[in-house]
Symmetry: C2
Subunit: 363 residues, 2 copies
């Protein structure tokens, strides 16, 4: 097998050990006589899997006991609707920070649903090249929550701080930075994340919600989007995405086995440094993101010449460095270097970048 | 590997060939250098997979061109809300047939959302032991749709006819009978199904919707539940459950390879006959479902003695016949014998039933 380095923004690389373990027990799991894919979600074998997944994630993220962990479906995009449906009943209004495309979508979704939502900060005028500064005085004191996207996959930015929103619960979409480093869960009211970047294949959405926030759901909302219903049923109000949860369990297990989020962070810092240090050392490639807002997971850069950018992505793919083309809305290049990307992948990328710059002098 | 016969109602057995193929290419798909689980949903490799899945399903079910095929998340339970949100805008009211627990849940969900919904027929007073007769004159002519559950997993009943609802679109939850036999799609406005019984692992929901029904969505509804948005984006408004769709593709491929739904039906008829013929030939076990309403997929029976039922399920499991316990709400036994259950499994079950009856005479 000729495995490539896959810089896709999501779905994205999974640890090879995890894939190999999954393959080895796909047809038959332990002595169950069946695949995990075939197990009744109410069977003791499967209950052990989902319970282990939750226990491992709780350990990994040090999730306080007064938070519920939900394994859901529909992606972060479904949570864009679920967040207001579950929370806005607190006060009838909510505040949003728009730091990129997905936080913009979350804001628009709440607007579309007819709620009193306010954009309290945005960096749109700077093409989202940094994270806005959010301070307590910007937040409406009677907002039901403040919504942020903690890592902006498309632009390659990330909060370097946790906004202080006072008594107003902070809700964070962490789809592209979840379990990449330790985070103080107690500072958030809700954390949610699509799994397909750092946790599992696509088709699983994680929601971590403080228990006291479960009582504000719109009584007419779709039951399947109610966090409280899911919490009361251990994420099994209906059939959960069982196999994808099993894959997440294998990923959590892998991170625990290498030393947890402290070690994961160490590796991610070292890995991102390889790329950022190179970017800072030269002038052929431009990294548009301001230094204090750089993402460890998604690194964006451009040559400044759209044709060269295109050539770069195409030649890189031929060299086994796949999916480096930037998001269609911004162009350029983006290297998504999630947990499962080995440091060697980033080193190969930098080698390639050097060779490409040498071989393609700018006019 | 000591593979068992798994009679689970869902998630349930998958064809062994499909599991083996999936296992063999889990780590690396073709010459892509990566797992299907790791592929960007926007990559040509993945687009080929989802396009093939749709094309195969269209061929298999002979889906007319004026129907959209959507690969979604959230299970049939999410569609319980999505159906009214997408359709009730036609006229403001809708009719429901309640033939079991899930059709009851669908009805209650629409009620909860505050809509004018009417239960036009139910067999609740008979403990759902048969399918109600639905005729055109029972339908409100200005209903937006009539909702039915075509196969009732818990009770083991199935419509032996397609209700004539005149000009009112018929919406059918086919979660537990989809692709088990040919069906005339053109008789339905919408068909939807959770995948975890006959199509794939859990985490995928199929919606087949007639194009002219895409224009009635509630403007304030969650975008992710809008069929039109999903149709316009080829099920990729956000990241779809990529790997589960790939598994569905392998299942469709398997059915096509054995001769399509005509052959599948032949096998299912023969398989169910083994069990029903035995049930009809003796008096130890009672099959509560009326003959004209029997499901080919879920066969329910009881001994008439709750302790014996319990013993049956437990001893059967030890004999490699798993998950025969009836749903917690009805008790007794249920053998779910979906597409992937081989005839030998049902034959073994009947052998076991005979031996159990001999060994456990009733008082």
């Amino acid at each position: 097998m000729n495995r490539v380095y896959n810089f896709s923004a999501g779905p994205s690389m999974l640890p090879l050990e995890v894939l190999e373990k999954a393959a080895s027990e796909l047809v038959c799991y332990g002595d169950s006589g069946m695949s995990v894919m075939e197990m009744s979600h109410r069977s003791p074998d499967y209950e052990a899997i989902i319970n282990d997944a939750e226990a491992m994630l709780r350990k990994l993220m040090n999730i306080p006991d007064n938070y519920k962990v939900l394994f859901l479906q529909g992606g972060a995009s479904t949570q864009f609707a679920a967040v207001p449906l579950n929370l806005i009943g607190r006060t009838g209004k909510a505040d949003y920070v728009v730091s990129g495309q997905f936080s913009g979508k979350a804001f628009k979704e709440a607007q579309k649903m007819g709620y009193d939502v306010k954009c309290i900060a945005t960096t749109k005028e700077d093409n989202f090249d940094h994270i806005p500064t959010v301070t307590k005085d910007m937040v409406r004191p009677d907002a039901s929550y403040v919504h942020v996207c903690f890592n902006n996959t498309i632009y390659g930015t990330k909060y370097s701080y946790i906004p202080d929103t006072g008594d107003v619960p902070l809700v964070a979409d962490m789809s592209s930075c979840i379990i990449s480093e330790p985070v103080d869960v107690s500072k958030f009211g809700v954390i949610y994340a699509g799994a397909q970047k750092n946790m599992a294949p696509a088709g699983l959405t994680l929601v971590i919600v403080r228990e006291d926030l479960l009582d504000y759901a719109d009584p007419k909302m779709p039951t399947m989007l109610e966090w409280k219903t899911m919490a009361e049923n251990g994420s099994m109000y209906n059939t959960p995405p069982c196999y994808t949860i099993y894959m997440a369990k294998l990923v959590y297990e892998w991170i625990l086995s290498i030393g947890g989020l402290e070690e994961m962070q160490k590796r991610n810092v070292a890995k991102a440094a390889v790329l950022y240090n190179y970017l800072d050392s030269q002038s052929y490639y431009i990294a548009p993101v301001k230094a204090d807002s750089r993402s460890m997971m998604n690194v964006t850069f451009v040559t400044g010449d759209a044709d060269l950018d295109k050539k770069f992505a195409s030649e890189a793919a031929k060299a086994g460095l796949k999916n480096l083309k930037g998001h269609r809305s911004v162009g350029g290049m983006r290297a998504s270097i999630y947990n499962a990307m080995p440091k060697e992948g980033v080193e190969k990328l930098v080698e390639f970048m050097k060779a490409f710059a040498d071989a393609n002098p700018k006019a």
